[in-house]
Symmetry: C2
Subunit: 251 residues, 2 copies
């Protein structure tokens, strides 16, 4: 946790320097935007990590993978919500996960503009700025609120499944990126569903959601790993999760 906090502090200093400064935006091979802010922030995080924990592995959004067979591997997204970042929205964050033997044991989501730090650790209460948070107790889809970032992340078939699920819910809303998982962990949102994610987009959120008594798996109900297919569902509780999976798995 001390390491994760230090990484988040380093990231904040770099990312905030560039926020709302009319950055040049480049396009990556997968068509997602990237800025010098993403690259420089992750480079600073990696440099510090390599000095402090040279035997640990690293999987980062901008600068790739190293020592993935290590017992401990850090999964880093310097700026989750790059589209938010480059359009001046405050709802972007730094995501830091620690995997032990491939399984997430710690997750930190830092929201610099809002000065919010969300922490999950295996077997402990999730924390928002040091205070325990708990996911909601609504247990039926008809009462639930559901978030997804953008329909543009879905293939046609996946969109049909999301659409079918969300139309059974009380309220659906778009936009959110990582922050939506915080809203879920704090009991304000009941479901977050995404497709097309990468491991650095979701690994830090697993311990956060589960530490708040929520559930987070892929659309088949399997535990999330770095090899998952990028389709993710987080629910406030087991009852909701089972209902969401029965729609999303296409059963």
């Amino acid at each position: 946790l001390t390491t994760a906090q230090a990484l988040a502090d380093i990231a904040r200093r770099h990312s905030l320097t560039y926020f709302r400064t009319n950055l040049n935006v480049m396009t990556k091979s997968d068509d997602s935007p990237v800025t010098i802010a993403d690259r420089e922030t992750e480079a600073a995080m990696r440099q510090w990590l390599q000095r402090m924990h040279p035997t640990h592995g690293i999987l980062g959004e901008e600068h790739g993978r190293e020592r993935m067979d290590a017992e401990y591997v850090w999964v880093l997204d310097p700026i989750d919500g790059t589209k938010s970042f480059i359009t001046g929205s405050p709802l972007w964050g730094t995501l830091i996960a620690l995997l032990r033997d491939g399984k997430p044991v710690l997750g930190l989501m830092d929201i610099p503009v809002l000065d919010e730090r969300w922490v999950g650790q295996l077997g402990k209460d999730a924390l928002w700025n040091g205070r325990p948070v708990h996911a909601g107790r609504r247990q039926v889809l008809a009462d639930a609120s559901i978030y997804t970032t953008s329909p543009d992340a879905y293939g046609a078939q996946d969109w049909q499944l999301f659409d079918a699920l969300s139309k059974q819910c009380a309220l659906r809303r778009f936009g959110g990126d990582c922050y939506a998982y915080g809203q879920l962990a704090a009991g304000h949102v009941d479901l977050v569903v995404e497709a097309g994610l990468q491991p650095y987009d979701f690994m830090a959120l697993v311990c956060l959601v589960e530490g708040a008594s929520g559930c987070m798996t892929d659309w088949q109900g399997d535990a999330l790993t770095v090899a998952s297919d990028g389709r993710v569902v987080a629910s406030a509780n087991h009852a909701l999760h089972a209902q969401a999976l029965s729609v999303l798995s296409g059963a």
Copy 2:
């Protein structure tokens, strides 16, 4: 401006009391959610306004219209982004417009959670927390970022027009509500397009956008009034606005 500021102060006190408190959510006749926070906040604003300016008219989201034939009419949305509000997202705001003979002469957008106040006055620079802001200078759609709150607000034909426009842009993003117009006024977003809005959703934003050198009209390029059809487009500059209108008007 003093009146608008006082109204925003009153609204903040009421709305923040209810934020993240697991409110009961009711559904209005148009299927949009409403809470006691919306109703109580607007009631407090109206009560003060009626005492201070008994001859002025009021059009509010929750409690209707009165004295609409007055020279001065206030247009109030106590909580724009009710879905954000009830799901714990910080991007909701209070919108206050003053119309003189039907035309907007002042607009204020208050974002309580972020402690941001955006002000536009006819013929003056738009202000963000007292500091002048200016919209961006990107003049071609291929470089532009575009926001809309949700595809769910569009009819099928309107969605086709929005989709055609946004696919010519560099980046499109969902979610935002009123805050997206602030991002535009400060130069971070180039286009905001919405359908299905009510006068209290957009009237306060006209002077803000135009005071930042942007343009804001309906999809035909006509000035926005309380009788507009709820299809709204805001652009960072005239060159972009002309290109957006040529797509949205279906020409």
